[in-house]
Structure formats: C-alpha cells, structure tokens
Amino acid sequence: MSLRVIKPGILTSIQDLGRKGFQQHGVIVSGAMDAHSLRIANMLVGNEEGEAALEITLMGPTIKVEKNCLISITGGNLSPTIDNHAVPMWRPILVKNGSMLRFAGCKSGCRAYLTVAGGFAIPEVMASKSTYLRAGIGGYMGRALKADDVLEFNEPSKNLGDRTFKGSFSFPKWFVNEKEFMPGGKALIRFIDGSQYEYFTDYSKDSFVAGAFKVSNQSDRMGYRLSGPTLKLKDNGELLSEAVTNGSVQVPPDGNPIILLADSQTTGGYPKIAQVITADLPSIAQVKPGESIQFSRVNLKEAERLFLQKERQLKELQVSISLALNKWLDI
C-alpha cells in the first residue's frame, strides 16, 4: 500500500497540524501552512482531521499509485491529473492501482494538500508527523520528498472493498465549495496589534494598512519577506528576545516587515507591529512570491469571533462530508 514518488516537484513535504508543546525547547511548530485545506482534505477521505498530508508547493510532484486508494486534493490548484485526465479537487477520489498522478502547473493559490484514506505510515517525532526541514527530523526522513521515495499508507478506516473502475479514477458529484476557503484576488489579511505596535511611528502604522505589500522571492515556510512602505520605530531601542509565533509580523532595522509562518523560529528580537489573526493564516499560505497582500486592522474580540466562526463552519462541514462520504462509499 504505497505511493511512489517519480518526480518530487519543488518542495513536497509531509505535514500535519504541527508539533505543539516543544517551543520552550526551541523546537518550531511546523505543520501545514494552510491548516484549513489540510483538515478538509482529511475529512474528505474519512481520516482524523489532523492526519498528515503531502504539502505540495507551486510545482507539484509525479506520483505512481501502487494500490487502489481513496485520496483527496485541496488547497491551491496545481492542475492535478491522473493518467492525463484532469482530476477535480475538493472531493474524495477513488484511484486505481497503477495510475499516475501528476501536477501540471499552478493555476491559483500556492500550496495543495494531498491526503490518502488511512493516513501515511510515518513515525511520529515529538508527537507529530510534520517535517522540520532545518533540523532534519519528522516527516519522511526529515526532508522534502525525492524521486523514488515510497510513501506507505495505513489501512483506511472506511471500507473501500473491491471496487471496479471504469477508468483510472472515480468521484462523487458533490464537492466542498472551495470559494469559502480559498480567497481569490488580492489577499486581505486581518491582524491585531503586535506586542510593539505602539513603538512604531504614526506614519508607519497608517502606511501598514494603507499600502500594499509585495511578497518577495526570498519567502518560504519560515516567513514571507514583504516589500512596500518602509516601517520605522519612534526610537531605536534594543529589544530582548521573546516568543514569536505563526503570524507574528516582525520589522527588522531595514523597515521591511517579515510575516513569520508555520516554520517560524520560537523566539525573536525584532519589534512586532502586527499579529495576523489565526483565521487568516491559511490565506497567506496561498499567496505566491511576487503577489501582493494588504493588511486590515481588527480588534482581539473580532479576531476571536472570526476564529470561532471558522471553526464552526469546519465542524458543520465535517458532519455533512461524513454523511455524504458514507453514502457514496455505500457503508
């Protein structure tokens, strides 16, 4: 029961919802950049929502399916095909043994998530299957995928039985409405004030929300470097290092902000102008280098309301997917 990597793509790694509880030891959280897409991809194949998936960036891999399986692909549209037929996203797909899954090119978004029913058979390191690329631990041998890697997966909890296929794959008519989870056009990113918001000049605070910021090519899972209006402090004082987290917007002395993301270091010493709200972190994950984002300021109560609203929406989705999936699989 396995998937064989024929070509790895630019950056394909195993990620789950992250390695929580070890930040005090300097261990980064990692995990999916777009946690919502990962969770939905798992719901669609009947997995626990935090099961590990392949996080596929910009140019996807070519993968040979070596056992009949149930998969789903969510997140950015990297033009997936199976045996040269376009594969629809955001729904479960039964795939026949021997099929070739390819990602042809990036149409929208930046990162796709591929899950398989049963989940990948990957040992946990510090209670997570996520790949911590810099320390070389977790995931598949602590690294991004390479050609000839063989990804074993576990027996699915849903009984797939011996199904007959007309072609290489089959899927139900229903699907998840991606518009509710994937922002189109220029990403509007909401934030609450960072711990050192008041240290910045009024002009910097105003231009942070008035201007657009371009995501530089030197952006990765650790953080997005932005260029746009230059941000300045009222006084240039030294700040002692303290905890930072996914979504912290740090401003180094050159005045160009950096949004720390899934592979954020655990502590940092640059002043933080903003903290992106949890509900909007997946939106950033789908912004490509070269594209722009715009910031919008909200208060903590609003951030909490949006977080809980999104969680409720995902919970409802889980219930409806579960019913539809059982019906389709005839369980």
């Binding site: 005090q24 300097g26 510090m126 320390a135 303290e242 905890a243 655990t266 949890t278 977080f307």
Partner: protein, 252 residues
C-alpha cells in the same frame, strides 16, 4: 482575601494574537524577573488549565499558548454564554495563578557543565574577542570558563540556550555580517550573552570554541539538553579530548 491581593505580582498581560498571552514581569535581564517567570511556568505546568498548550519563557516575560476552542467549549458548558472571550478567560485564570505565586520560594537550579575546545578552527573569533577587549586569548578562555551562566531561555534554534552572566570584560558585539553556516556545537558571544549552537544554522555571534556535547536530542524528552533556569559552566578541553569525545558521541 485582602492579604493575597496585596501580594499580587506586578506585571502586564497582553495578547500575542488570538491564541497566546504574554505576561511581562520587568524590562531587563534580572534574576528577580527570571524567578517570577520560572515560578509561574512551574505552576502552570503542574496545574494546567483546560486549553493550555505550553508556555515559553524569555528574559522578561512568559508567553502562554492556549487553544481558544477548548476554552470556548469549556466555558459554554458552565454558563451557556455566546459572548465569552477566550482571552478574557485565560487572563482571569492567569491573574488567579499570579496571586498564588510564592515569591519567597527559592528556585532549585540544575548545574550542567559543557566541555569546550577553545580557539583555532574551533573558535575563529577568539582572537577578535581578545583584541576587542584588550586581553590575551588565554585570558578570554579563563574568564569564559570560570563564569557561571544562567539559562534565561531556549530559543532561536532547537536547544539554543540564551545564557546571561557573561563578564563585561569579554563582552563583544555581534559580527557586523552574520555567517551563512555555523557548525553544531559552536560556542559564541553576543554582547553580554553567551550560547551554544545546537544545530548548523546561519548566525551572527562571535565564535570562541566548540563543544562535542549534543544540545538538541530529538528522540529524548525533553529534546533540549538545557532548560530555562539551568546554571551552565564551561570546562576547557584539548583538541585531543575534543576528538575523543566526538568519537564517543558518534558511537552512542
């Protein structure tokens, strides 16, 4: 309980986004501040509240990470309210914990000795540090290896200790341009801090030596050799001893 209220620890509580809260106890690297952070951290870890994920100590503050969803559910069970703010709930829990802090309690520190091979290819900046402070390299080694350092925090990289207590006589600013790669085990100085790089990373500290000891142990719990609150001492070793210890580490 007015007596308890009077004892309430002076600090500020502020949000780090919608899923963490920062409790700040002071504004400088001080033992009294470290002590309050450590006491609160121990208290939270021994008696975690529903939704508590973990806390990260730093020089002047403790950041507490929580899951708003758990807190929301937990609160809804008890009062059915729709307007509860997870931040407000955590803040009031923390305020109560702060009242329970026994600040007169003595902290118990573990002492860890780390062997270091100073200078030459192991410490490419040792001579610079000596020149900068108008000392000989032997004097720098002597001062560094007779000091006692407090691990205020672990961060930047897995297992990287931020050690305070470096003598002003060998304090040296960071390099003006950071190195692209620093080998695992490198011992460095930045201002009045010293530390050890547990894994190979880019970095800007002045490198004075290297240790064969592994500071990041991914398959051990906890994965960091050092914890905030540990006392660290450095013990000079020779080139020969370094090589023997490296071989031993590899066999294990």
């Amino acid at each position: 309980m007015p007596e308890k209220l009077l004892k309430k620890t002076a600090c500020t509580l502020s949000p780090l986004g919608d899923s963490a809260i920062v409790i700040t106890f002071g504004n400088g690297m001080e033992y009294s501040v470290h002590k309050k952070i450590k006491l609160l951290k121990d208290l939270l870890e021994n008696e975690p509240f529903a939704g508590f994920i973990e806390c990260v100590p730093a020089y002047i503050n403790l950041t507490v990470f929580y899951n708003p969803l758990v807190i929301y559910k937990d609160q809804n069970k008890s009062n059915g309210s729709e307007t509860i703010s997870p931040f407000d709930v955590v803040r009031s829990i923390l305020e109560m914990k702060l009242q329970d802090l026994q600040e007169d309690k003595k902290l118990i520190h573990r002492t860890v000795t780390i062997p270091v091979c100073y200078g030459k290819e192991y410490g490419p900046d040792l001579e610079y540090v000596a020149r900068y402070n108008d000392l000989t390299t032997d004097e720098v080694i002597h001062i560094h290896s007779t000091g006692e350092y407090l691990a205020y925090m672990i961060g930047f990289a897995p297992g990287f200790p931020f050690l305070g207590g470096l003598s002003g006589n060998i304090a040296t600013p960071r390099r003006s341009s950071p190195r692209m790669t620093i080998p695992a085990g490198a011992v460095g100085i930045a201002g009045k801090q010293t530390g050890v790089y547990p894994i190979s990373t880019p970095g800007g500290w002045q490198l004075i030596g290297q240790t064969p000891t592994k500071l990041f142990l991914p398959n051990v719990n906890p994965p960091s050799l050092l914890q905030a609150g540990d006392i660290v001492k450095f013990h000079p070793i020779t080139d020969q001893e370094y090589k023997e210890m490296i071989t031993k580490e590899e066999i294990q």
